[in-house]
Every structure is written in C-alpha cells, then in structure tokens.
Assembly symmetry: C2
Homo-oligomer: 224 residues x 2
C-alpha cells in the first residue's frame, strides 16, 4: 500500500510538521531526513537547498489556498453593494478548512507555518508570499476597505496586521492553548472551533472606533 512513497513527498511531510513545531531555523535537515527515512543528501538533490525546501513546503498549501481565496474575493467584489466585514472575513473559513484535504491537519499546519514564516526568518518568506500572491491579497484589502469606508487607509493597514498577528500567534501556540482550554473549561477545541472564536474578535477589532482610548493628556500628533 504505502510501500513505495515518493521521496519528495516523504521529505515534505516530515518537514512540514517539524517546521511547524520547531521553526525553520531550529529544524535541521538531519532531523527531517531522519523522520522521513531518506538520505540526508536527498533534500539538496530534490529541492536544491533548505531555503527552497521551506518554500516548497509552503507552496503545497499556498497553491491550493490562493486559488480558492481568489474565487471568493472575486465573488464578493462582483456584489452590487459593499459586503459587511464579517462576511468578508468569513470567506477565509472554507478555503482554510479545505487545506485539510491537502494533508491531515493541513489547516493547522499551514497556519503554524505561516506564523513561523513571519517571525523566524527575516523577510524572505514575507517577500515570497507577497511576490507570488500579492495581487490576490490586494483584493482582500480592497474588500475590507469597502466594508469599512470610515477607516483611514493607514489605520486599516495596522489593524490588518494586528489581525494577522492574532491568527498567526494563536495558531503557533494552538496546541498549548487547546490543552489549557480543555483542562480548565472541559471544552473540546478543534481548529474549526478556534477559527469560529477568532472571527468575532477580529471583526470587532478591525471595525473598532478609531480613538476610543481615553487618555486626554497623551494624544497623537495631528498629521504630517
């Protein structure tokens, strides 16, 4: 059955879990090839370098995800009137959950990898994603902008990155959080449950009134 599995797949499968748990720089090719039960040199033979392996691991998910997201974004952009923010955020749910068909626990692994990519390495994965999929993500920014016309562009920029941080950090520490939640609240939590809890939090944060901080003696400077 599983007898002759592709070496490349064995490497990708082993690498994605180790990368997600330990980070890119803290996972050695020796660990990966040991778990994958392939020769050390196989990584460089099939992928060229560790850097390219990291990109290949992410590409397996990005390829699927971004096509689906693009469809959803185009659907919403075709609407006559602006969509509300919750609807816009909700389009991520199904495409993300469908990553589970790419690989078992694919959604969790992908989001953890994304988190690692934004904190571990200095910019190189950030650039990779933006270079390949920036046009798709721009559509999302446009949708949010349409649904929150009162938000200045700069405020929106920060809040979208705050939201990215929320998601990415939550997923990176998802395992620990789920354990505590189960112990303290005897409440089973799967990845879908976490996503459903995230949506209202993100929607409220992004759409928050701009200056709700009541600290009159410390105010922002008024412009350029």
């Amino acid at each position: 059955m599983v007898a002759k599995q592709n070496t490349q797949q064995k490497i990708l499968d082993a690498a994605q879990s180790l990368f997600a748990e330990t980070g890119f720089n803290d996972t050695s090719l020796r660990q990966i090839t040991s778990v994958a039960e392939v020769n050390l040199a196989a990584v460089n033979y099939h992928f060229g370098s560790k850097k390219e392996l990291i990109q290949a691991v992410l590409q397996r998910y990005l390829r699927v995800l971004m096509v689906r997201l693009d469809q959803e974004f185009n659907r919403l952009l075709a609407a006559q009137q602006p969509n509300n923010l919750t609807q816009v955020l909700a389009v991520f749910v199904k495409p993300l959950l469908e990553l589970n068909s790419v690989h078992h626990n694919g959604t969790r692994i992908f989001l953890q990898l994304l988190g690692r990519g934004y904190t571990d390495v200095q910019g190189h994965l950030r650039w990779f994603i933006n270079h390949h999929y920036g046009r798709v993500l721009d559509k999302f920014v446009l949708l949010v902008q349409q649904s929150c016309p009162q938000l200045p562009a700069s405020e929106l920029f920060w809040r979208l990155h705050f939201s990215l941080g929320t998601v990415v950090f939550t997923m990176a520490s998802n395992e620990a959080l789920a354990e505590i939640a189960e112990a303290d609240f005897s409440e089973e939590v799967d990845i879908e449950g976490v996503i459903q809890r995230l949506l209202p939090y993100l929607a409220a944060g992004i759409a928050a009134p701009v200056f709700s901080c009541s600290h009159p003696q410390q105010q922002l400077r008024s412009g350029t």
Copy 2:
C-alpha cells in the same frame, strides 16, 4: 566619560538590540561580544551561559515593569465599582513607556524581546515569566473579568490569548511594519503610536459580542 563602562552592561546593551532584531537563536555570542567590544569568553564568565544572558536581558525590564504594573493593578482592584475595559488596558501604557528610562528605546526593545521570547524558543521564556510574575498577571485577568462580566470565562481565556498574540506579533515585526507604514503613508511611527493604535483594537476585540458570526449553517456545538 564613557571610558570605563562595566563589561556586563556593555554585553547587555549589545545583546538586547541584537536579540530584538535577529531573535535569540539567530544571534551568536560572537556577534554580541563583537558589538560590545569585549572578549568572547566574557559572556560565559559573567552570565554563565547564553540562556542566562537572555534571561538577564529580559529581567532588566521585567523587574521594573512588573512592580509598576502591580501598583496599577492594585489601584484598580481597590476601586468600588468595576473599571471599564479601556481603563484596564490603558494601565499598561505608562509602565511600558517608563521602560524608556531603563534604556534608550527601552519600550520598543522590551516588547520586541517579549515577542521573540514567545515565538523563538519553545516555552522556556514563557515558563520563566509565568513562574516569576504569574501572580501579578492573574490580577490583570481578574480586572478584565470584572470589566466584562458578560463574557464566559472560556471566551475570555481565548480572547486574552488572541490579544497577547496581537501585541507580541506586532512587536516582533515592528520594524518591518513601521518601514512599510512610513513608505506607504509617509507617516512616522514610534512605539507610543503603535501602542495607541493597539488599545482600541484590543478593547473592541475582547469585548466583542460572543456570536457575531452570521454563518447559520455552521454553528458551534452547544456544550457538554
């Protein structure tokens, strides 16, 4: 003037900036001692190991910050009626900004280090902070609970971790974000500006209505 600066201080000063920018594992003792202009062996002589240096770097700030936070929390806890959420979150601002008196750019550096601590290393700094300052942080949880009595404890648990993620991720990638913001919106961003932008986002997210996600065909299971 600066003639004979303490070796330990020179190491701490060099280490904190490099750690904040590059992360703990990706900063070598050779880089640190090179910048500090001290001998490589000085780190192990004065601090014992790299791990203990990391903790010493953080302790310099945590010692100051946690005393101040404890004061603020006690003050709010003594109030007759529950404080509103924005007030509770706002108590972080002054203690955090006072870290600038520990060292130039202390606030930014500390928050970046905190971000690194939660993503770089697996748990060892998490444990260190919780072990030394868990009792202080419990007071904060209590305050939030009092200000949001309608929130179930489990929901609060998740949202506080979402918020931790927001802060930590934002600070870990602070430099990159600030650069983009300046380039795209020609807007200078200092650490205080980011904090002021964070507060409304966090307050709105934590206090968000519990089931604002309008996806009737996907609902959470109703509990045990």
